[in-house]
């Protein structure tokens, strides 16, 4: 394509937007609203997932051993557990360490009672592994696996915590996917409407173009450009607002609600936007392209 033709097509696309100012504005506003909501959902979801991951990493499966199991056998069990993909970390706690922890927790201030036990460890059979997971939804299968290993007496886990986190994670995923899908459909519909009106306004010009010998591409390209530009503008505006807003909110929450630090740590804006920016731009431009492309295929038979 010649540069002059490319520039002309681009100019015609801009001209279409300007000629149908009100409809273009409505489309850009709707697209902005969609991308804005998408951005908010995305920010909330990634931050929530980060919190969930944090919580998940603290939920452990505890593995106890049968009486008389040797250290070598316990090490072998530990090794097999460590090979599982869903396991992020495992920690062996010996019977002595368990007794020490127990004393610190229950005999604080009355250490003399603990001393009565002398070298006799009442928790002699309490050596165990604490297993941490990177995917809490795999907890049940991991527990079943560990239970099948030789020497394992009992596997303790919190099914309630695992199930709640897994369910909540899925719920957030489904709800956000559903809302985003609806918003995208609305955006496609509105862009399609704007382009349809653009075609109606330029009906005569299109007729002349066809008779003079314009190719399908030449007739259609300005409308595609129009859709893409609406999508692009409709993405850049909300992304800019979100960028400023996100930074302000995390700095405000950080200062105003200091007690939340450590419980709710926001992801830095760069980390959120590293994915949000390209995804939202591709989404906006993609919807713009799709909306206009579908419309010209339907209404612009050249």
């Amino acid at each position: 394509m010649r540069i002059s033709t490319f520039l002309y097509t681009l100019w015609q696309g801009i001209r279409n937007i300007w000629k149908n100012k009100m409809f273009s504005l409505a489309s850009i506003a709707t697209m902005s609203a969609c991308i804005f909501l998408f951005g908010i959902f995305y920010s909330v979801v990634v931050n929530f997932q980060s919190v969930v991951r944090e919580v998940e990493s603290g939920v452990a499966v505890t593995v106890f051993f049968e009486d008389g199991v040797t250290q070598a056998q316990m090490d072998a069990v530990g090794e097999q557990i460590g090979k599982r993909a869903e396991v992020s970390n495992k920690q062996f706690v010996s019977a002595d360490e368990t007794w020490e922890e127990f004393q610190k927790y229950y005999f604080e201030g009355s250490e003399e009672i603990a001393k009565d036990f002398a070298e006799d460890n009442p928790l002699a059979n309490s050596a165990h592994y604490e297993v941490y997971m990177n995917d809490i939804s795999m907890q049940q299968s991991l527990v079943t696996f560990i239970q099948s290993l030789n020497g394992v007496k009992e596997v303790k886990s919190s099914d309630a915590a695992a199930n709640t986190l897994t369910d909540f994670n899925s719920l957030i995923g489904y709800v956000s996917a559903g809302i985003i899908l609806i918003l995208l459909c609305v955006a496609v519909f509105l862009i399609s409407n704007t382009v349809t009106i653009g075609i109606a306004v330029r009906r005569e010009e299109i007729g002349i173009m066809k008779l003079i010998g314009a190719t399908d591409f030449f007739v259609r390209a300005p409308f595609i450009v129009e859709g893409i530009l609406i999508g692009l503008i409709g993405s850049v505006i909300p992304l800019s607002i979100l960028f400023v807003m996100y930074r302000k909110i995390i700095s405000y929450v950080g200062e105003r609600f200091r007690w939340l630090n450590g419980i709710l740590d926001f992801l830095p804006v760069d980390q959120v936007f590293a994915t949000l920016l390209p995804v939202a731009l591709v989404l906006g431009v993609g919807i713009g392209f799709l909306g206009s492309f579908m419309t010209i295929r339907k209404h612009l038979r050249v």
Binding site: S4, G207, T215
Partner: protein, 227 residues
């Protein structure tokens, strides 16, 4: 140059708009097509532009069978045919120069070509001085000249004019016909659909008369010069 072999066109089950029409127009000819409303004149123009497909028969233009031209090649085919309408069909938001340049632009000609050809063709139609005017600022006759300039700027071999003088007064109608004759003298084949019997009689060209979709008369008027 233009050949129709037993061409029929029906829009519905009723009377065909064209019924078994055969005709041949040689390169460089000037032909008038006359007839009442509904005689099939406009259908003929649309068939020649490949806006419509014939129900039966074959149309050959510049050696190309229209039925064999694939959809994607239709624009290239149309670039060899200039077309002028009764209602001018100019772009109202663009000036005279831009209206004519538009024809060059849609076929992807470079700006350099536009700068050379548009003023030249505006000189041919006598509107070089008005290149900055908008359609609303010039008369009907001048608007039709712009439309002719737009049809000519891509140097088509054939010029089709559908009632080009229908919206003009007698003086302007004559001016346009003289211009079309001049274009024909330069070698372009011209086919004009018209109602204007006075002009047709005076210009002494080949005249095809149509009625209810058939050719009822095809003759060279007195004074026609083979050369």
């Amino acid at each position: 140059m233009i050949k129709l072999e037993h061409v029929s066109k029906s829009y519905s089950a009723g009377i065909p708009a064209l019924n078994d029409v055969s005709l041949e127009i040689e390169e460089g000819e000037f032909v008038f097509v006359m007839g009442d409303s509904g005689s099939g004149k406009s259908t003929l123009i649309k068939l020649l532009l490949k806006e419509l497909e014939p129900t039966k028969g074959t149309i050959i233009i510049n050696g190309q069978r229209l039925g064999k031209i694939r959809h994607k090649n239709v624009p290239r085919f149309r670039r060899n045919i200039g077309v002028v309408f009764q209602d001018f069909r100019l772009l109202k938001d663009r000036n005279v120069y831009e209206n004519v340049a538009f024809a060059q632009r849609v076929i992807g000609m470079p700006v350099k070509s536009m700068r050379r050809k548009v003023p030249a063709v505006l000189s041919v139609v006598g509107l070089a001085a008005k290149y900055k005017s908008y359609p609303r600022e010039i008369s009907g006759g001048e608007q039709q000249r712009v439309a002719i300039a737009r049809a000519l700027v891509n140097e088509p071999k054939i010029l089709l004019a559908d009632e080009p003088t229908g919206n003009l007064d007698a003086h302007n109608a004559w001016e346009i016909m003289r211009l079309l004759d001049e274009i024909n003298q330069r070698g372009t084949t011209v086919l004009v659909v018209t109602h204007n019997q006075e002009i047709v009689r005076a210009m002494k060209k080949r005249v095809i008369i149509m009625d209810k979709g058939v050719i009822v008369s095809d003759e060279q008027l007195e004074g026609y010069n083979e050369d």
